[in-house]
């Protein structure tokens, strides 16, 4: 049973449990799990046979082959390990925007909670950090359900505020983890693009995997305003009085350029990217993303064997 809380979307969790979240790249785990380790050994998953050479541990001798072929073969296993996944949820003030029932932060929290639960079910350890310009809350990776419950509780208590910053936060968290992880970034990325780029590159060069989930509101994507409107900045004191229809086309062009730039950056760093729309059902977007990852996983496997 998943922990109780408003961010546990039963439909989302049902969808996600049908999927497996596996790291496309091999990452170290400290529990055996569904992610393969780059360290071969004798473990549960059989990989190949080799002829016996003196000194080999007889525990790994394949007795069935010996009985059929009368030859000595040793079984080789690939070590299976846990993913260390780390949720990074932007809790800056801009995430507090929501034109419908839920804010972007709430949408991000829901998606994050669902994914955390999925990982926890897979016996992967999950950590979480809420950040703005700094790390506001930090939960070290854990496979314990109680840890997941605490994270969800914190999400419920969090009020987005302040500005957001990526590079420093990512560096700081990566330093704390000291091993390669799967980072799940949930943010609107309404920050300096260079900052985003520097952060993602940092993760990439340090061998981390990442799922980049950009969360935007429907109003931000469609700009549906008709009447004269005074727009007040959420993260600063800027204001703009304008006739929205006169700006709409230009705004949407700029926004699209921005979305494209974030997606390109993800492609460049080989991270998965998915746009999530607050207020819309998150399930289809996330399952789509996971299905795509699974497909890629299989392709990698085949290519590797």
């Amino acid at each position: 049973m998943p922990p109780r809380g408003k961010f546990f979307d039963s439909e989302l969790i049902a969808r996600l449990t049908r999927m497996e979240l596996t790291a496309r790249r091999m990452v170290d785990g400290f529990l055996s799990g569904k992610n393969k380790s780059n360290r071969h050994g004798f473990s549960v998953e059989f990989v190949e046979h080799r002829e016996y050479v003196p000194g080999d541990d007889l525990r790994h001798l394949d007795w069935k082959v010996l009985g059929r072929l009368d030859r000595y073969y040793i079984k080789r296993y690939e070590e299976e390990t846990n993913i260390t996944a780390f949720l990074l949820i932007d809790s800056s003030r801009s995430m507090h925007y929501g034109s419908k029932e839920i804010t972007k932060f709430e949408a991000a929290a829901t998606a994050g909670a669902g994914l955390a639960y999925l990982l926890n079910r897979q016996r992967d350890s999950v950590g979480m950090a809420l950040f703005d310009e700094n790390i506001r809350e930090y939960f070290p990776p854990s496979v314990k359900l109680v840890s997941l419950a605490s994270m969800v509780a914190k999400l419920q208590d969090t009020e987005p505020q302040g500005k957001s910053s990526f590079t420093d936060v990512l560096q700081s968290i990566a330093a704390r983890l000291r091993k390669r992880c799967l980072f799940i970034l949930l943010s609107d990325f309404f920050v300096d693009q260079e900052d985003v780029e520097a952060g993602l590159k940092y993760l990439h060069y340090n061998g981390h995997d990442a799922l980049v989930l950009q969360v935007l509101d429907d109003a931000e994507l469609t700009f549906p305003f008709k009447n004269n409107t005074l727009f007040k900045g959420m993260e600063d004191k800027r204001e703009l009085l304008t006739e929205p229809p006169r700006l709409k086309d230009r705004y949407l062009e700029l926004l699209q350029e921005f979305l494209d730039s974030v997606e390109k950056l993800c492609q460049k760093t080989a991270f998965d990217y998915q746009l999530l729309e607050a207020g819309q059902p998150l399930g289809p977007a996330l399952t789509g993303l996971l299905a795509a990852r699974a497909r890629q996983q299989r392709l990698i496997k085949r290519g590797g064997s």
Binding site: R93, S94, M95, Y97, K104, D188, F190, D217, E220, F225, N227, N228, T229, L230, F231, K232, G233, M234, E235, D236, R238, L240, L241, T242, E243, P245, R246, L247, K248, D249, R250, Y251, E253, L254, L255, F258
Partner: protein, 755 residues
Amino acid sequence: MGFFFNPALLIGLALAAAPIIIHFLNKRKFEVHEWAAMDFLFQASIINRRRVKLEDLLLLLLRTLLIIFLVLVVARPLIKGLGDWSEDQRLVIFDDSFSIDRRTPTGSTFDLARETAVNQVQDAVGRSVPVDIRLGSRPHEAGLNLGPSGEKDSGQENQNRDQKAQRSWEILESIREIQPSDRPIELAQILERLVEEVDSEEASHKRSVVLVSDFRRVDWFEGESSQFKPELRAAFEKIRDKDLSDRLGFHLIDLGRPATDNVTVTDVKISSKHPTIGVGLKIQVEIANFSKTLKTHINGSIEMAPAQSTVFKATKRLSLPPVPQIPPGERVTVEIETKFEEADTYLVRAVLEEDSLPRDDESFAVIHVKEGLEVLLVDGDPSPDRFGGEADYLLAALSPRGNLPSGVKAKKISGIIKESDLDNIDVLFLLNKETLQGQEKQLVENFVSDGGGLAYFLGNKVNEQNYASFAKPPKDGPENEVLFPATLGKLKKEIKGVALLPKDMEHGAFSIFKGLEGSPMNRKLFQSFNEIAPHEVATISASYNDTKKTPGIIEAPYGDGKIAIFNTTADRDASDWPTDPSFVIVLQEWVRYLAPQYSSKRNLTVGEPLRWRIRPGFKYAVYDPKGKRHEVEAEETTSGSVLKELSFPDTALAGFYRLEESWPGGAQRSTEESSNKVTWFASRRVEQESILTPIGAGKLESALDGYGIRYALGKETKTDAFQNEQEGEIWRWLAYAVGGILLLELFLAWWFGRK
């Protein structure tokens, strides 16, 4: 001219501010929204800012224009040059008054006016517009009798073309023959006639009136004011009140030039009322300076001609004393003394050195010199004894013996008065005449009403009933139709005698005694006289100093002449006055007082009809100053009277007019009676025509503005100036513009909004 048909609605232009106000109000009405993606908004805003501002400005401009145009549509502006006013007829008023005959180094203004009129006619013919020409000095005449020249084209084009060519040629020839008149332009009468004509025409008929004039101030304004003369004002008010302004378009072509120097002869007269041969008299010439500057060294002369010739041909020239200077606006009278040796009519022309307006540098006068004033004494109680008759003292008083001329030539008759007795008589004395009977009555009445003087001395022979028949007015009838202006009462006797005292020493017959101490009139010479009651029309010239102040001399006008009733006798039956020296002087003065002034009757002002009492059976013709003969018919002057006079109104030219009286033959007449008789008249110009100050376009426009007159004023002689000046409405175009702007605004608002 107001420039809008409904100017009051222009207040709606204030609504033009509405789009601007709404724009700013809209700016103040907005929703507030917290927004995360401010960077994109700001970037979009910065990129769009200039375009949005331009779009806003364009829409604002269109909306403001929309309202302005809407207001203009309802205010209905009138724009010069856009009018569709097209003339159906053109009337050219040619100012032929003599002021337009000014000479300049480049030619005369009159020639320019004539050229302008020709252009106007040719243009009208070219446009197939009927054209007529009238002369400004003859407002009631058919002008040149030109009639319409440009019939509208119909099917018979060739024939019409020939007719039109012929007609236009005739018109142009007629214009070329126009000569300056000496009469002023009669603007008010021209307008009055125009109003009558246009008012009687169809409402759709439009006339353009082209006034070619020198536009002098005196023709238009009252005195020194900037207001039209009352009669002009009334005419313009009629145009406005009868709503004719849309049917009349005035093209005022101003050929006037700045005021130039002008010195003119304004009057020629003689010092004596009754010039007689051998008696010296003064010919006085009045010279006026209508310039704005002092004029010096003015020289002139007087030319004289006898009346025998058929035209004026000077036989004597006398230089006028030089006038050293005349200040601007002032006038000076110079005189020369002369004496006429023969009884005749003399034609006198005073002339100055020519200036820019030569026509008024001359003036004319007719002087009728008689041998003496001719007096007929009708003795009602004649006697062969020396001074025994009623007329003897009077005859001696009026015509004393000796060579010294008294200026009075008296003759005595008795019995019935015949027509021939009154020939050339100036004053008729009835002395104690018993009755006036039969033809006598008519002869005497005609004589007096024709200008002669009648003096009636009473006496014991006078038949009271007969007198009363001449003195009693018909029941409720006018008193001035009876010959004698007083009713006689009973005879009164004053044993001690009383004096006859003049009522007013300024009186023409008594002024000779004015200022004298111990006037001879104070002497108590009168012992008997009648009680007498003067009529209302009569005045008492002298009264006795008895207790009742009984009237002694009563006088009254009758027709063109005068009658005086002397309440005494002309012999010594009632007084000793006939033997008193004052008798001679007073009676001579009374003769001069009662005698007609021939010269004044023969000196007219241009335009003033020439009138003359005619003799039955004779024919009359008038020769104008250019020698042109005009037959004249007689007309009755008063109802019920047999008296007739001729009237010749066409005295438009200044100069001498000759009236010729001729016996047509057939009936029995004596040689003397049937011989041709010539009477001369002088016609003088009016001095107002010599004042050349122009009216000024601005003042004329200001004065016209109040009457809603449709006019074009200018110095140009271009023929289509009037049409170009015509005001037209553009509200229809404005309405189209409103529609266009509205559509454009809607489209742009949609286009800008969809971006």
